[in-house]
Amino acid sequence: MTIDLGRHGIRESDDPTIPGDYVSPVTGYETNSLIENPANLHQPPMVFDPYQSTRLRGPRNKLVPVASSRTERTAPVYGFHNIGRMDNDLTIQHDGQPLGEKIVIVGQVRNDAGQPLPNTLIEIWQANASGRYIHKKDQHPAPLDPNFTGAGRTFTDENGYYKFITIRPGPYPWGNHHDAWRPAHIHFSLLGRAFHQRLVTQMYFPGDQLLEIDPIYMANPSARARDLLIARFDRRFDVPGIALGYRFDIVIGSPRATPFE
């Protein structure tokens, strides 16, 4: 399947001389309590005090740096039928329409050399429009939506593009601290084409007031890396009169060390 990028297509990058007034919407959350992630200063640390669950779960020893072997450079290519059904439209999984604001998310998955990653599995899951997960352990007393499960799964096409149709999830309260709320987000999981390309992340929405007070989002010390977790409002992907479009690209890093055979 090839993702239909709409009548405007995906433009080549703009002339870099175009002035932009874009300013990252987040400012400094104090990150002095962190233990640096030695692997990458654009990734969150293992322990970030404001996110309480990291205190007893993030390893305290430094990760042991290693070179990759064939086990890390390979990944499953068959057997996805085991995982679940391929379904990139979360709005048609039930008899009726889900509540909420319908959205289209299109993005490209690339490696850090800018090359697209075709045929890689992307799985998403999210809360419904009122901020409630269908998960049995979710205690938030907001209503479930009988027409929305909140899970989808697809592959990137030959140019690395994927597309999901869903609804904008609601923010929800959680127990991290008094009156803590997660900003609206969609969980993304990418299997990658090699074991070392595995990525789990979250997509956020522009203009969300909760971002700069969210300890999970703010755990990443890099303002640029945080900004790139926010989808761009992108009306090229609108379904006119039905759904608003967003663009969310994902970049997969490479191992640093030279491989051994």
Binding site: R55, L56, V66, A75, G79, I216, L228, V251
Partner: protein, 194 residues
């Protein structure tokens, strides 16, 4: 909020690896739609020695972690990966969630040696409270090559035992092993960075 050309260009051309975020506590219905993904399905009988690894996941207080996700990637009994050699009855890929007592069971075959490495499973560990997922390996007590394995020998000797599953008897042609994961503490499991 309108998206500026610069913000759009940054998204479309960035080469900065996307930031990792936690899998959170509610991944089960997203990542395990049909329940756990077993390495050996139903009556499949892939070639090799059948093994069962039983273990638990613990946090830094020694409490069981009941919302962890484990992903396994391994070679088949001949040391071949599914990518290179599609044996229909063995994908080499599994996904399991930890139970209320932090326990998990991995039923699989002992992987063959890959390029002279000691027999090993690759493991990714995900959970609430892990902003980055963790990569570790399970090696097997008594198997050849442990002293010369290129990854294991990068680990300080005193901590290597955290990566070696302990033999726990055999029955009905099944070799049993024990392997616990400690996210923190004096027994903290070794985790790798690639």
């Amino acid at each position: 909020m309108t998206t500026t050309p610069r913000a759009m260009r940054e998204m479309e051309t960035s080469r900065l690896p996307s930031g990792s975020q936690t899998v959170g506590p509610f991944f089960h219905y997203g990542l395990l739609e049909n329940g756990d993904v077993p390495l050996i399905r139903g009556t499949d009988a892939p070639a090799g020695q059948r093994i069962r690894i039983e273990g638990r996941v613990f946090d830094g207080a020694g409490d069981p972690v009941n919302d962890a996700l484990l992903e396994i990637w391994q070679a088949d009994g001949f040391g071949q990966f599914n990518t290179e050699c599609a044996e229909a009855s063995f994908d080499g890929f599994g996904r399991l969630h930890s139970r209320e007592d932090g326990s998990f069971v991995i039923d699989t075959v002992l992987p063959g040696r890959v390029d002279g490495q000691a027999s090993h499973l690759n493991l990714h560990l995900f959970s609430r409270g892990l902003l980055n997922h963790l990569f570790t390996r399970i090696y097997f007590e008594g198997e050849p090559g442990l002293d010369s394995d290129p990854m294991l020998t990068e680990v300080p000797e005193a901590r290597r035992r955290t990566l070696i599953a302990r033999r726990d008897g055999s029955s009905d042609g099944l070799d049993r092993y024990r392997f616990d994961l400690h996210m923190q503490g004096s027994e903290e499991t070794v985790f790798f960075a690639l």
